[in-house]
């Protein structure tokens, strides 16, 4: 009998002896699922070049991860397929101009996983969001390619490049004279016009239009605000992310935008424009909510999200770059350790400062049980 019930006498296994069915891979898969509609819409909107760019970016992100794991003499397969490298590549791809040349995606993918993730020790150790670091690095290094937005040219239209010519666009660059290339997104347009001294009241009627549907020039997967928001809601419902960061970030953009627009509509764009432009939606639901680089208490997340929003607005409005989400996220990433240090949840039996509660005062409280 005792032989029957003998278990391994090696190191004891600590409680709990049960575990959730969730896993890191499941989390990553859910995020990718939520990202899929907006990405597919982007593919449809910008045609074959965007599909190739997405494939290249994801492939190089995973390649970078695999190379690093090989260099560190670790087994690549389980880590490579936990989905994190693919998600990083994916998030980078959807924030790139859809017709960007292949080397933009390749460089960005490698940069994101090699320098911003594996150099720090891999998943969970990085301090900055790898996709956003790569995007900023590309934006700073290759401003021309990174702001060459194309007007939507749905894949089923005759003028859209087919599978072969689309591949050529990605590999060789946008051919001269293709009228799909449009100069700027709305934020860039407004900024350029402002710097030429034309105020918004005059320039806006000529500006590229904005809509929830997302048929506008912009990054691969950033334009379809409603699809991104739907994906974000899925993540919130599935409890992959909490509502704090998205809500705080969108409010952080919308509130100052609304106030300043009220003060001077000729100089400041309105809140809706800001929310629907650039990467605001994608940033709020998918980028800023990255677990690793955001605080992990509810209050900390509110501060973090609001900071992302306000910085986005500040950079968009006053700084040199037309789009500020990536910079704002990186800046708030850098503040995350400090937020985490000073914003902590209240511990049971203690006040927020960590001082034990007063026993006599607690004993004097009337007993209020809730009916369940």
């Amino acid at each position: 009998m005792s032989a029957l019930s003998r278990t391994s006498a090696a190191a004891p296994v600590a409680a709990p002896h049960a575990s959730t069915s969730g896993s890191v891979t499941a989390v990553m898969a859910t995020v990718m699922l939520a990202l899929t509609p907006a990405t597919l819409y982007g593919f449809w909107l910008y045609g074959w070049p965007s599909i190739y760019l997405w494939l290249i970016t994801v492939a190089f992100a995973m390649l970078g991860e695999a190379v690093c794991l090989r260099l560190m003499e670790r087994r690549a397969v389980p880590v490579l397929f936990d989905g994190s490298a693919m998600l990083t590549g994916w998030l980078l791809a959807v924030s790139l101009p859809p017709w960007a040349p292949w080397w933009i995606g390749a460089l960005g993918g490698l940069f994101a996983t090699m320098l911003c993730k594996q150099a720090f020790g891999g998943l969970g150790q990085n301090l900055f969001n790898p996709a956003m670091v790569a995007r900023v690095a590309l934006l700073i290094s290759f401003p021309v390619q990174m702001t060459a937005w194309v007007a939507p040219l749905p894949i089923d239209m005759a003028a859209a490049p087919g599978p072969i010519s689309g591949l050529l666009v990605t590999l060789k660059g946008i051919p001269q004279g293709l009228d799909a290339v449009s100069s700027a997104s709305l934020l860039g347009f407004a900024k350029t016009e402002m710097s030429r001294g034309v105020d918004l009241l005059q320039s806006l009627p000529h500006a590229p239009s904005l809509s929830w549907l997302g048929s506008r020039p912009g990054s691969l997967g950033e334009t379809a605000s409603w699809l991104i928001a739907a994906g974000g809601l899925l993540l919130i419902v599935r409890r992959v992310i909490s509502w704090h960061i998205p809500v705080a970030m969108l409010a952080g953009i919308a509130v100052p935008a609304a106030l300043l627009h009220l003060v001077d509509p000729a100089r400041y764009l309105d809140a809706t424009t800001h929310l629907l432009s650039g990467g605001a939606m994608l940033g709020a639901f998918f980028i800023a909510t990255d677990y690793v680089t955001s605080p992990n208490t509810a209050r900390g997340q509110l501060i973090f999200g609001a900071g992302c929003g306000v910085l986005t607005y500040v950079i968009r409005t006053w700084a040199g770059y037309p789009e500020g989400v990536a910079f704002a996220v990186l800046l708030m990433n850098s503040l995350t350790p400090i937020i985490d240090r000073y914003v902590k949840p209240r511990v049971y039996g203690r006040d927020r400062q960590g001082v034990a509660l007063d026993a006599p005062a607690m004993a004097a409280r009337p007993i209020v049980g809730r009916e369940y």
């Binding site: 019930s5 278990t7 002896h17 049960a18 969970g124 034990a356 026993a359 004993a363």
Partner: protein, 497 residues
């Protein structure tokens, strides 16, 4: 249990694991026939180990005192069978370390002859001190798992004038149903025991918290408590760790136990339902605590259910009684969330053992630990409001003081964080390790203080000895001089006269 409840009424902390309580909970209680040999450990409680009062070879009756309490916080141990003491030696303790502890080995004569019971017809006519004395003498300890001597808590409750007795029928651990079974089958004993405890501590009301996933137990308890207005049955949400004292107090009373205080200091005292039943047995029937209901459950068990077994029974005997499909891949004493892993089955059943789980290979498989992705699930799950991920990251680098600054000491080791972790990091083990290291350091510090005092005392002693030696030398010198002078005087007696 709709969405509204989930959003607004249920507590924000905790987790909701699959409870696996049924079908074991629904099986009728079975009684284990006394095994041939039993091993009664001397330390089945928090505090000092009991001191044996029987000799090897001595015949004992069921319920006879085997070892007496030793020290202020301790509990006696009684014989679970009638028979003979055959040895006093070491057996493996139900502890993850697999280390041994002292136990009295008994051979059963299968006669089940009880000692003469000192029954009390009306315990409410007794003085509270008398109830406390009888409870202490019966060896009753907290049967929920804490195994703190109950009588000591009674005294505390009397002294602090606790008004509310909370009876913990939470039993939030998955797989376990011994309290559930007890409340279904012996609800009147539980209620009577609770009223005796209430009398002993001078409380005015009893709140019985029962998780709402045990409707049969709630119904049985409501029926048993109907005649007594002061006993209130309070269903609480089924949420792990509702059975933890602090969380149950918070849910039932809205009070929190301050970090540096005991529950009694905020006017409540918590006792487990099994403890109440044991108090009923001890006071009303005069029977010491020698048997308990234990859940035998898990995938490897053929007939999972609850067994009424004498303490000191080997785990192997219990498993054999319930049958096994396969060799268990893991044996656990207690529930899956907080129970101790057992190295083998030759370990005796102790007072605090509410369940024996024999997991099959599938249940025992926990995916390998991955890196922390800082998802914060553990922070949201922690019923104490701690930051498990931050503490574990520091402990991983042996920064125990930094972990302590994050209130590691407030951790109740409930296991919510490790359960919910998508990377399956053994967070609780990190915390247990760090708590052990910290207390070892504290012991070292106390030791160092003690040795510093000893060293100072030695220096003083050496100084004193040197001084005394010098004084003695002086004295001897003086004596010698005096003697010499006297001798001289004797030589010339004429001068003195």
């Amino acid at each position: 249990m709709g969405l509204i409840d989930r959003l607004f009424k249920d507590p924000a902390w905790g987790v909701h694991p699959d409870d696996h309580k049924r079908p074991a909970a629904d099986q009728p209680l079975r009684v284990l026939p006394p095994p041939a040999r039993l091993y009664m450990p001397l330390q089945q409680h928090v505090g000092g180990a009991a001191r044996p009062v029987v000799q090897v070879g001595e015949k004992v009756l069921k319920g006879q005192l085997l070892a007496a309490a030793q020290g202020n916080i301790s509990a006696p141990v009684h014989s679970p069978v009638s028979g003979q003491v055959v040895a006093i030696g070491e057996v493996t303790a139900p502890h993850p370390s697999g280390l041994g502890f002292t136990a009295i080995t008994l051979e059963s004569d299968f006669a089940e002859r009880w000692i003469d019971a000192d029954a009390v017809a009306d315990p409410f006519s007794l003085a509270p001190e008398e109830i406390t004395r009888r409870t202490a003498a019966a060896g009753v300890v907290g049967l929920g798992g804490a195994t703190f001597p109950s009588a000591v808590k009674f005294v505390l409750g009397q002294r602090l004038k606790v008004a509310t007795l909370i009876v913990n029928g939470g039993e939030c651990e998955p797989y376990l149903s011994s309290d559930d079974r007890l409340m279904r089958d012996r609800a009147s004993e539980v209620v009577d025991g609770a009223r005796i405890v209430m009398h002993a501590i001078g409380a005015t009301q009893v709140l019985v918290g029962i998780e709402n996933n045990k409707p049969e137990a709630i119904a049985a308890m409501q029926l048993a408590a109907a005649p007594f207005a002061e006993v209130n049955i309070c269903p609480v949400p089924a949420r792990y760790p509702m059975g933890s004292d602090k969380q149950l107090i918070q849910t039932l009373t809205g009070r929190e136990v301050p970090a540096d205080a005991r529950a009694a200091e905020v006017g409540v005292l918590v006792h487990n339902v099994s403890t109440c039943a044991a108090v009923h047995q001890a006071v009303r029937l005069g029977r010491p605590l020698v048997e308990r209901i234990v859940t035998v459950n898990g995938g490897a068990v053929r007939e999972p259910g609850n067994v009424f077994a004498p303490l000191g029974t080997l785990v192997d005997e219990l498993l054999a009684f319930c049958g096994l499909h396969e060799a268990p891949s893991r044996l656990i004493l207690g529930g899956p969330m907080m129970g101790s892993p057992l190295a083998h089955g030759k370990i005796p059943l102790v007072k605090g053992a509410s369940g024996i789980l024999a997991f099959d290979a599938r249940e025992a498989t926990i995916p390998p630990a991955g890196p922390c992705i800082r998802c914060g699930s553990c922070t949201r799950a922690c019923p104490m409001g701690l930051l498990p991920l931050e503490m574990a990251a520091r402990i991983r680098h042996d920064k125990f003081d930094e972990a302590a600054a994050l209130m590691l000491g407030d951790c109740i080791s409930c296991g919510c964080c490790a359960w919910v972790c998508p990377s399956h990091i053994p967070l609780v083990q990190y915390f247990s390790h760090a708590k052990g290291e910290l207390s070892a350091r504290e012991r070292t510090r106390l030791r160092n203080d003690a040795s510093r005092r000893l060293a100072e005392a030695r220096v003083l002693r050496l100084e004193r000895e040197a001084r005394e030696k010098a004084e003695a030398a002086l004295r001897r010198k003086a004596e010698r001089a005096a003697a010499k002078a006297a001798a001289e005087r004797q030589e010339t007696p004429g001068e003195t006269v």
